[in-house]
């Protein structure tokens, strides 16, 4: 059961930002609604107004500019899992999107909504951190970039200011020998742990980025684990991957909850990192 709210339907980002500034915490951006409406139905959050951003133009496709893929925040998971350019250049993202929730959620849920809602047990943020993505945040008269690794502040909390709208996500176009993978594991509807790894393979592995999601309040980069693999030969890296996994587990800020105990999640981080690394190598 949803309580009554008023609907605003801005037609520009500036107008949306202005509404957010004017109504503050009594209003919330609404896109696909797959997560927000659940929280509202449960009575966990209430808003006097929802600001439907789906009339904003130019935020619903995947393009590329200046060496980056530009993903509009209103792209649905369904669009992203079927994007030929992503399938070709970022198959790890395609595979992740193919496995978000279920076909109905992917049909209406947007990537922007997923990131802004910042539900801890979500997939895309973790891989975006490992891929070095940047979030584009706009308000009426300004625009800024937020590195994906700085975007997630806490559970359900992002670095966006109250009157900022996430409009686009920039992902650097991978170099020819770039490798990446995302793996998740869970036994409930949402994953207990997600692990993403990205690196370049030039004889050895370099530019290693590892991120862990779902285990704790927010997805995070685990530099301690990256350092254990950085600059190693392929074989050396494979020998160190278990150690890196243990380090990533400790750095994951895992918490005990319905999705598993802290100890369990830390263990799964290690298992997934090993598998993700091997899968990215092959």
């Amino acid at each position: 059961m949803l309580r009554r709210f008023r609907l605003e339907e801005p037609e520009s980002v500036a107008e949306a930002a202005e509404l957010l500034g004017r109504f503050g915490e009594s209003a919330k951006v609404y896109a696909g609604g797959t997560e927000l409406l659940l929280a509202m139905k449960e009575g966990l959050v209430q808003y006097e107004r929802l600001i439907n951003v789906k009339k904003l133009t130019g935020l619903s496709d995947v393009t590329s500019a200046d060496g980056a893929f530009v993903i509009g925040a209103l792209c649905t998971h369904h669009q992203l899992e079927n994007s030929p350019v992503l399938k070709d250049k970022l198959p790890a993202l395609t595979k992740l999107e193919q496995n978000v929730a279920n076909v109905r959620v992917r049909q209406v849920g947007t990537i922007g909504g997923n990131l802004c809602f910042a539900e801890p047990h979500a997939d895309p943020g973790t891989l975006l951190i490992a891929l070095g993505a940047k979030m584009i945040a706009e308000k009426a008269s300004s625009k800024r970039e937020i590195a994906a690794e700085d975007f997630f502040v806490d559970a359900y909390e992002t670095a966006l200011q109250a009157d900022e709208v996430l409009t686009k996500i920039h992902i650097p176009v991978p170099v020819p020998n770039a490798r990446s993978a995302y793996l998740k594991f869970g036994y409930l509807e949402r994953p207990s742990v997600g692990v993403a790894v990205a690196f370049n393979l030039n004889g050895g592995v370099s530019g290693v980025k590892i991120a862990v999601g779902c285990a704790g309040p927010a997805p995070r980069r685990v530099a301690e684990a990256e350092a254990l693999l950085e600059g190693k030969s392929k074989d050396e890296a494979l020998r160190h991957v278990a150690e890196a996994g243990a380090s990533a587990g400790r750095a994951a800020q895992a918490i005990s909850d319905l999705h598993g105990s802290q100890e369990y999640k830390e263990h799964i981080v290690g298992v997934l990192l090993k598998r993700a690394f091997q899968s990215a190598l092959s």
Binding site: A101, N102, R104, Q107
Partner: protein
């Protein structure tokens, strides 16, 4: 319904013109009204069921522009200008859809509660991919839960319907 009769001046009404099972419908809804409630309670089509209420089980599946959505968590105004198909709109001229026939023939249901959602989701799959592998079928249907059949007969039903539909095409 009484609720629809009394229109307070401060109530926000959104005109929604859409196609429901091939027929134009013009209604007014409030922003918070859910598609499932409107379809079941206002329009009297009770095939879609409320079950989990959190987009997990698929019992409330409807097709919007041919794609499956959870009507339990879809705001009704979202179907403005779009085409909605419910299980009631699947049979044509009194003749069951091949999926409906296959579910009967192959025992693809027991209690029937999940069946409208199963069949609509399967229709969306076969419209997009007329010759799915069993793995593709399972992946697509993963969000539709049945607590009776154990799925084997549902998979058999959909595969049989797919074969029949390909033969006709």
């Amino acid at each position: 319904m009484a609720k629809a009769m009394i229109k307070h001046s401060d109530t926000q009404w959104i005109p929604v013109s859409f196609t429901l099972n091939g027929r134009l419908q013009e209604i007014e809804v409030e922003p918070h009204e859910l598609l499932l409630d409107v379809v079941r309670d206002q329009l009297g089509l009770t095939g879609a069921k409320l079950s989990c209420d959190v987009e997990v089980c698929g019992a409330c599946t409807l097709l919007v522009d041919g794609r499956p959505v959870s009507a339990c968590t879809t705001l009704a105004f979202e179907v403005r200008g779009r085409s909605v198909l419910t299980i009631e709109g699947l049979a044509q001229d009194g003749k069951l859809h091949p999926l409906q026939e296959a579910f009967i023939e192959h025992g693809g249901f027991q209690c029937g509660f999940c069946t409208p959602g199963m069949i609509l989701a399967a229709k969306a799959l076969l419209d997009e991919n007329p010759n799915p592998s069993e793995a593709e079928l399972k992946h697509f249907m993963h969000g539709n839960i049945c607590r009776c059949t154990g799925y084997k007969k549902i998979i058999e039903s959909i595969m049989a319907a797919a074969k029949k539909m390909r033969a006709k095409a």
